[in-house]
């Protein structure tokens, strides 16, 4: 008993009642705790700190509190900030989210949170939300109804479509979307008829996705957060997880305490660096030099994993030639890292294997971001660290569902699941959607525009402002929709502001008005639609380690806000294609059902194995979180025994095939059926006569005991396994080949399958399916290059000037590929080229070469050939994947990882100075690329770098995150619990620079760049080196010294405002993905 606890004090009537907890929860309510209770709770924590604890029993018992109206109910949701994916228990009373409890049983966060997760509830009770639809009329915000808003927006959109074509509407989506909303949004924009769609991944990890996918096969974090506990060394390059992903530090510090040296490479001495064993201070932008220096040191000392490289990696000779010049002394000259430190780090990494490499936006946000991510991947290959527990490239993604939104194709250059935009990809998705391919084609301006990547979000402003003669689409962008995206996370503020002022229609769909609403001087044609927050909606989200977690709705949308799903429905109805969009999708109270959408995702996303994660299986995992091992994520007890937590993709085949998910990518120590994988045979079997397949390396239990190509019906046939396909699977494969697929084939009773096959054969006989013009589903050429299809754009070889017609280059490329595909396919020749391969491997390779050439199929191919080419990506029955799994083969083949990405501007990663550099002495040796055209727009490189600003702007400017805020910060700065802890935008400058400029700590100063001027407070600290300045990027509301907060609609001003660092950030875009360059530019700082 607590002393004085029963002291009664009558007459306390609350003046402002607020939701209190009516009755305490759980069994221990009301009575004071016994000593046992304390020990039990303390003990739980104790185990959590030590080794191998997974989940508590106390919380689970409470989780079964029955749902009774009026009482406190509990709902499990997933934190909506970063990509770690922490579970949250939400307590709801009378429709209000009143309390938040830790989820100890979640294997990912184990009850922990950072500041943001700990303050998540605020979003659902926030006073600063956008409360109802508004429009700007004569420069004044006016409240309107949803009906009026939708009617006016739809009319304007349709008018713009009529006048300028569908490509003049830009649809900017969000990494805050659930998987289902992401998928629905992609489909919606496809039905609208444009590829001008994108989201935050473009400006956070697009270079990672492109770089890693083109090295290993998939563009995602290879291992899991928990697996970092097994690492023998940990190196973090350009990442500050202590602020950006604090809960990941639970695992990182556990790894460190298990004995792994922690190395942090960063221009700033970050909060993470403060916990490092070794801190490496690098000059911003010099990453490739440092990494290549490490590789050189490893190769020079013979520390590389030779057997691994021989078996599983392509292109070591080319790499060796490039890294040769990166002596530790050259690294020091370029990056400022002492030569001895480079040697020491290389030794540490070599002596502590397997080690993990973590990177974030410090590496990605660069005009050579793809080089940097590939260099980092190559370092791990050289050390033999990929595909091993404790190893991997652990790339921490940004937003809660940026992985899922990327996977679901909220991108200008691909359909869902990285199928690309080729005709084959469109036909695949038309089949999944149950719509006529020609109807979808008719929605677009032309077939050419349909298959041409749209404009990325980083360049949307150029899509408005660029001279129409320079644009590869009929008209500039006229209607801009920001759907869960901030403007202040994009660079070149003044130009973006001009673009916002120029568009005819500006629509903002968000829980908050965002910087977009106040930045523009437009007096009319601006609409604000209140979107519900993620807590007010349901769906699945994919965390950074590819686990697909399920998020329950906590409360109904507050104020007049609506869920994203419902807003899509309203648009689709206004545009007249709702029937087609929601075929087979239940609409409940106006809201499309996420789990029906998930089933449709399962139906189509074969490339990345988003097919096994049915709503039922995911629900089971969420309900039994406590039964997963806290390190391996393997289910230990029924009903989830043998499956990995939330089925990290790929979970091959259909849900009924029971694949457990793949926690560690490319891990050959497990069989494919148990979640193992080789590297993906993504680029064919040979390149310029050299073998691209794995040699003497294969996953455990593989029936082909060597490398093999990706799976096709033809390959199964050749191997004698086609008979294992069921009648239905054969029917579907034939129907796809004959272009006669219909969705009822998936559902029809078994008895009707044979009849359907007979009808199909009859049809084939009558129509002679070998007629000209019949295109096939397997358009490999466009799928090979990965999500960011650099191989079809204008950046083939890095030597072309803008103005070159991409079509010409495409043709060149096709010819080159043809040369490869014309290689003889007869068995004897294959055996000569693949010596020492077992017979079944030779059979598979021959069949692959015969039936699946690397280029567009012959238009007059007979039906048999078309059937043979139906493959693991296009087979909607899942039969190809199922049979391959039965033989323990990876559906995507068993290939080598690439150190040479021949379809990128720099095939082997090289260092190039940032476009705005103060190190003019390193030019032209490390100069940038030549100007070029990409994705409908000209892109400038050398014409910018040639201008010397270094006298006027002598300092380097970099940017980064703060723990309290996220992204553009509109949401977190409107969160009173977070905002209080970070109230001022600032710039970090070294005492030497501050002294020279005459700036005192906490004084205001001007940060000037070639683009703009920011008035911010100075934080004088040795955290940054002399000559380097750092700014966080989450602030908005100020514009170059001017306070714009009066422009917010009444009651929506965030608690904290400040200058947006990106207002003054400069030009610069990645050569493959158009990522913006924000981590290394220039500035000058003066007293204000």
């Amino acid at each position: 008993m607590l002393k004085r606890k029963t002291f009664d004090r009558p007459g306390q009537s609350p003046s402002a009642p607020r939701p209190g907890r009516a009755a305490p929860l759980g069994a221990a309510e009301a009575s004071a705790p016994s000593r046992r209770d304390f020990l039990r709770n303390s003990g739980l924590m104790g185990l959590a700190l030590g080794a191998g604890w997974s989940a508590g029993t106390v919380q689970r018992a409470e989780a079964s509190t029955p749902y009774t109206s009026g009482e406190v109910t509990r709902h499990k949701t997933i934190c909506h900030f970063c990509s770690v994916g922490c579970s949250v228990w939400a307590e709801v009373q009378q429709g209000v989210w009143i309390g938040q409890e830790p989820v100890f049983e979640s294997p990912v966060n184990q009850g922990t949170h950072c500041a943001k997760g700990a303050a998540m509830r605020e979003i659902a009770i926030s006073e600063r939300r956008l409360k109802y639809p508004m429009k700007k009329e004569g420069g004044v915000w006016k409240r309107i109804s949803w009906d009026q808003a939708m009617q006016e927006i739809a009319e304007k959109q349709l008018a713009i479509r009529e006048k300028y074509g569908p490509d003049s509407s830009y649809w900017l989506g969000s990494a805050k979307f659930s998987n289902e909303q992401s998928y629905l949004f992609r489909k919606f924009v496809a039905f609208w008829g444009t590829n001008n769609i994108d989201h935050q991944a473009r400006i956070c990890h697009s270079t990672t996705v492109a770089g890693v996918a083109n090295t290993f096969g998939y563009g995602a974090m290879t291992n899991t957060f928990n697996d970092i506990r097994n690492s023998r060394s940990i190196i973090i390059l350009g990442g500050n997880p202590a602020e950006a992903h604090p809960v990941s530090m639970l695992h990182v510090l556990a790894g460190k305490e298990n004995g792994a040296p922690l190395i942090v490479v960063d221009p700033r001495f970050t909060r993470t660096a403060a916990h490092a064993d070794e801190y490496v201070r690098i000059r911003p932008g010099a990453d490739v030099g440092f990494i290549n220096g490490l590789i050189r040191e490893i190769l020079a000392n013979g520390w590389e994993d030779r057997e691994y490289l021989r078996q599983r990696v392509f292109g070591l000779d080319e790499l060796r030639a490039e890294v040769e010049k990166w002596t530790p002394e050259e690294v020091e000259r370029v990056s400022g890292i002492p030569a001895d430190q480079t040697r020491r780090v290389a030794r540490t990494l070599a002596e502590n294997r397997p080690g993990t490499l973590i990177w974030c936006m410090g590496l990605t946000q660069s005009h050579i971001g793809n080089n940097k991510t590939r260099a980092a991947s190559i370092l791990q290959l050289v050390l033999g660290n990929i595909g091993k527990s404790g190893g991997g490239t652990n790339i921490f993604r940004g937003h809660d569902n940026v992985q899922g939104a990327t996977d679901m194709g909220v991108s200008c250059d691909t359909l869902p699941a990285y199928y690309g935009l080729s005709e084959g990809a469109w036909k695949h998705w038309a089949r999944v959607w149950g719509v006529d391919y020609d109807w979808v084609k008719g929605r677009f301006g032309s077939k050419e525009l349909m298959e041409k990547a749209g404009m990325p979000v980083s360049r949307w402003l150029d899509g408005v402002l660029e001279d129409p003669a320079n644009l590869e689409q009929p008209n500039p962008v006229k209607a801009m929709t920001f759907w869960g995206h901030a403007a202040n996370s994009l660079t070149r503020g003044p130009e973006q502001r001009a673009a916002l002022d120029t568009v005819e229609l500006l629509t903002i769909i968000d829980p908050h008005p965002t910087q977009v609403a106040i930045m523009t001087d437009k007096t009319d044609g601006v609409y604000l639609l209140p979107a519900a927050s993620t807590a007010e909606s349901h769906g699945t989200v994919t965390n950074s380690n590819r686990s697909v977690q399920m998020r329950d709705q906590v409360v109904d949308p507050i104020f007049e806000s609506k869920t994203d799903y419902e807003i899509v429905r309203l648009f689709a109805e206004a545009f007249g294609f709702a029937d087609k969009l929601f075929q087979g999708i239940r609409i409940v109270d106006g809201v499309p059902d996420a789990y029906d959408l998930l089933r449709e995702i399962n139906r189509g996303c074969w490339t990345i194995g988003y097919t096994g994660q049915s709503p039922e299986r995911l629900r089971l995992h969420m309900d039994h979180q406590d039964k997963f091992d806290s390190v391996s994520l393997l289910g230990k007890e029924e009903p989830v025994k043998g499956e990995y937590y939330c089925l990290p993709w790929p979970a091959w085949g259909k849900d009924t095939h029971g694949h457990p998910g793949t926690p560690l990518l490319y891990d050959t120590s497990k069989s494919v059926r148990e979640g193992g994988l080789p590297f993906r045979a993504r680029w064919g079997v040979e390149h310029e006569g050299r073998n691209l397949l794995a040699e003497d390396s294969f996953t455990k239990g593989s029936e082909i005991r060597d490398g093999y190509p990706e799976g096709t019906i033809g390959m199964l046939q050749a191997l004698g396994w086609a008979g294992e396909l069921t009648d239905r699977e054969m029917l579907i494969a034939v129907a796809i080949a004959a272009d006669r697929f219909s969705l009822d084939m998936l559902e029809m009773p078994d008895a009707e399958v044979r009849d359907a096959m007979d009808r199909l054969e009859e049809f084939a006989r009558q129509n002679r399916l070998d007629r000209k013009g019949e295109a096939l589903a397997t358009d490999e050429g466009s799928w090979q290059g990965g999500p960011f299809e650099a191989n079809t754009g204008g950046n083939g070889d890095g030597t072309k000037k803008p103005g070159d017609k991409p079509a010409e280059k495409k043709a060149e490329k096709k010819n080159k590929e043809k040369a490869d595909s014309n290689a003889p396919t007869d068995r004897a020749s294959v055996r000569r080229r693949f010596p020492d391969y077992p017979d079944n491997a030779i059979t598979a390779i021959s069949a692959y070469l015969a039936d699946n050439p690397q280029d567009d199929p012959k238009p007059d191919a007979p039906l048999r050939d078309k059937i043979m080419r139906v493959n693991w990506k296009t087979d909607l029955s899942g039969g190809v994947q199922r049979v391959m799994l039965a033989h323990n083969l990876a559906p995507y083949g068993n290939g080598k990882a690439r150190m040479v990405v021949w379809n990128f501007p720099d095939p082997v990663p090289v260092h190039r100075e940032p476009l705005y550099t103060v190190r003019r002495d390193l030019l032209p040796e490390y100069k940038t690329l030549e100007d070029r055209r990409m994705w409908r727009l000209p892109v400038l490189y050398e014409s910018i770098q040639e201008q010397d600003y270094s006298q006027e702007f002598p300092m380097i400017l970099t940017s980064g995150r703060l723990v309290e805020f996220e992204g553009g910060g509109d949401e977190t700065r409107s969160n009173k619990w977070l905002a209080e802890f970070q109230q001022q935008m600032f710039v970090e400058i070294n005492p030497a620079d501050a002294g020279a400029a005459g700036i005192e700590n906490k004084a205001f100063c001007w940060v000037r760049t070639p683009v703009g001027n920011l008035r911010v407070q100075a934080m004088v600290t040795r955290r940054v080196d002399p000559g380097v300045a750092f700014m966080p990027f989450h602030f908005a509301g100020m514009w170059m010294g001017e306070d714009l907060s009066h422009r917010y609609p009444v009651g929506t001003v965030p608690y904290v405002i400040g200058e947006a660092s990106n207002t003054a950030q400069t030009y610069g875009y990645d050569s493959v993905t158009q990522m913006q360059e924000t981590k290394a530019t220039i500035c000058r700082i003066e007293p204000a």
Partner: protein, 198 residues
């Protein structure tokens, strides 16, 4: 009898502020009042260290000793609580506290500071357990619900420990052994060879 303690493992604290914000969330602490904050010393320097600080619920609490109206008291679990109805806002406890835990809503030169507020170890106050009155004055009473202070329950790296002193002491001891730095273990250099600290 258990004695409740907080312990912050500075080798793990990353200044993520989860403890500070979750406290505001749990107890609806208004803007301007902070019951727990993270203090970082030598910010940006090689020996930067962060530690989460709140009322430490001292064994022989000086605030209890100096309170002229006996509004502060210690429970049998060692938790230091106070009665907002009898507090006169004199500020003595603030001067007595080595951790700066007591706070006051007002800060006028000659006016009253208002009623003191501080960390309750999530144990509420003298009102009835779980009552609306208790919630409005002191916040949630997790201890009465058989739970631990929310700040420790959510700490991102399990740096902040709360619970029975013997238990968390044992947890911390095992941790230090597991880290296995030998003579480089936490505190070693600081205690005996400060000149070697890099």
């Amino acid at each position: 009898m258990s004695r409740m303690k907080f312990l912050c493992d500075t080798d793990r604290c990353i200044e993520c502020n989860a403890c500070s914000t979750v406290c505001k969330n749990e107890h609806e602490v208004p803007w301007g009042m902070v019951r727990r904050r993270v203090v970082t010393i030598n910010d940006g320097e090689a020996d930067e260290t962060s530690v989460a600080i709140s009322c430490m619920h001292c064994t022989d609490a000086p605030c209890v000793a100096v309170c002229p109206v006996s509004t502060l008291y210690q429970t049998d679990l060692g938790i230091v609580l106070h009665d907002k109805d009898t507090c006169i806002g004199c500020g003595y406890c603030f001067y007595a506290c080595p951790f700066g835990a007591p706070q006051y809503p007002n800060s006028t030169l000659f006016g009253s500071r208002g009623v003191m507020d501080k960390c309750t170890f999530c144990a509420g106050g003298p009102e009835e357990n779980g009552s609306q009155a208790e919630f409005e004055k002191y916040g949630r009473n997790r201890i009465a619900e058989g739970k631990l202070p929310i700040c420790a329950e959510v700490c991102s790296t399990r740096a902040l420990l709360a619970g029975d002193g013997d238990t968390i002491g044992e947890i911390y001891r095992e941790r230090v052994i597991h880290r296995g730095y030998g003579s480089g273990a936490w505190g070693w250099k600081t205690a005996y060879y400060p000149e070697e600290k890099s």
